[in-house]
Amino acid sequence: MAHRGFGLARVGLLQRLSTFLTMSKKTIMEFSRYPVAFVATFAQVFLIILMFLFAAFAFTTPGSELAQGRQIAGVMVYGLIIQLFLSFTLWEVGFSVREEQIRGTLESLYMSPASRFGSLISRIFAILLWTSVMAVFAVLLVSLLVNGLPTANFLLAMVVLLFTIFGLMGLGLLMAAITIRLKESAQFLVSFLQFFFIIFAAMFFPFGVLPDVMVDYVSRYLPVAYSVDAFRSLLLGLPAGFPELLPLTQEILIIVLFGILAPPVSYLLYKEVERRARIQGTLGEY
């Protein structure tokens, strides 16, 4: 029997998969229509890296060792990778709801029997691909600039990255729920969150340079901070003083729990917010 309210449509696994694939295709096609955006985003990553390296150069002691430079570059570029995934997830998954509202297509999309979960996470497909390519190029560029970056414990670092991405998907869904409530103001929140995580999850510098009070009362409560810490500590080969927040096993446990729990919890929250918006008739409100 079809689900109540869906007419003759069958909301089975196959239909969900089909929605996901169709929406992913649509997202990739949308991306491909804006080639300048591709190039611009790509250039942006290189500029960020170059700018921070120049900034770091202003503070160097003449004749400082290359190994130290490599470690600092590693701290920055590996943090940047998590930042890229975070940024894309927040904007493309979280704020995409707003784009549909602006275009006036959100309500019609929700009136169709297609899986809403599928439509939300479909954007991830294209984004993951694109962000991964950028991350690889970012690592290659910095590697070239500092004559090789440390890439120790690669497989374990990838596992950490994978669970981090799942967790970030949860954050994206949470952001989508908030966007339905806040509407236009959500973009300020997304921007704010980006900056918040850059500082409090110490994405471009070690946690050691943050004041203790910030680390103890904010950073230690952010799963993303553990992701950044564990990911770069592993790739840097666990040098003395890394990871900085907790022993590695505990950090990995937190990251795994973040990756497993964040998506379903956030999706439930999203469904509740969406249900209320539909009852109030504010879903497509612009």
Binding site: V36, A40, T41, M51, A58, I72, F192
Partner: protein
């Protein structure tokens, strides 16, 4: 006799000023509904300044070493003020570009751009309204961010030649109008505003030397940076307040260059905007989304 194509409409100087004022008022009304953006404009320069400061501390290994190394490389030990000034000047530039770019894109998305083009109001006055609004908003953001940033980073911005720094800031804002037109034309053409604006922000901050002096660049990049008006504005403000070197050694030569930019860039920018617009109207139309 009415101007051709305007029917019975008479576009007097007063009605033109009225267009500028109406657009300006509309933008103020809209932004008053989104107070979060004002908060964000204060936050962005703080984060922007905090990043190189924290990176610097980690590279140097402490405040004293960071200060000494920065003094050796840049010429001032007060690296916190240096970064803060760069960040707040960057926010001024960013707001000017961002507002014009996004305004065009938003009108496209909402389907009102073509309708606006059909109205008898000249685009110059519409864009002037937007640019005036951006001018005011960027100055407010500059003042708030500098005030809050000074408290957060524990620096005193009221040192050196304040009047000269203010002159560099105000004269530097004029060519930004021209750059905003250029940027608007680019958005009109490529359509995708989000990523372009995001990337442009980094391009701008890179070339205007927000975090470091452009002397760090290889010669070719130094020339590129020097052909960009915000670089002169940023360096002028810093040099006046922190007793750093002007590009030409003396403030009046640097200010003169900025005056030349102020005289030329707005006309260049607006002509380019009109050309792009004309080209699009002849081909695909400006409302294509």
């Amino acid at each position: 006799m009415a101007v051709e194509k305007l029917g019975l409409t008479r576009m007097s100087r007063r009605s033109n000023l009225d267009i500028v004022w109406t657009v300006f008022k509309a933008r103020i009304l809209i932004i008053s509904r989104y107070r979060g953006s004002l908060f964000l404009e204060t936050l962005i320069p703080l984060v922007f300044a905090a990043l190189p400061i924290l990176i610097g501390l980690s590279v140097a290994g402490g405040d004293a070493a960071a200060s000494a190394n920065f003094n050796r490389q840049v010429g001032t030990p007060d690296y916190r003020l240096y970064m803060l000034l760069g960040a707040v000047t960057f926010v001024v530039v960013s707001i000017m570009l961002w507002i014009v770019g996004f305004w065009i894109r938003r009108e496209m998305e909402m389907g009102t751009l073509e309708a606006m083009y059909l109205a008898p109001a000249k685009r110059l006055y519409l864009v002037s309204g937007i640019a005036t609004y951006a001018f005011l908003r960027s100055l407010i953001a500059f003042a708030i961010a500098l005030g809050v940033g000074s408290l957060v980073f524990g620096v005193n911005p009221f040192q050196g030649e304040i009047a000269l720094a203010t002159a560099f800031l105000f004269v530097g804002l004029i060519p930004l109008w021209g750059l905003a037109f250029l940027f608007g034309a680019f958005i009109l053409k490529v359509k995708e505003a989000n990523s372009v604006v995001n990337s442009a922000q980094w391009v701008v901050s890179f070339f205007m030397g927000v975090f470091f002096p452009i002397a760090f660049f290889p010669p070719f990049l130094q020339w590129v940076a020097l052909s960009f008006p915000p670089t002169w504005m940023n360096n002028g403000v810093r040099a006046a307040l922190q007793d750093l070197a002007f590009f030409f050694g003396t403030w009046y030569f640097d200010l003169a260059v900025l005056f030349v930019f102020a005289a030329v860039v707005p006309f260049l920018g607006y002509s380019f905007f009109l050309r792009t617009e004309h080209h699009m109207k002849k081909n695909e139309g400006v409302g294509q989304y």
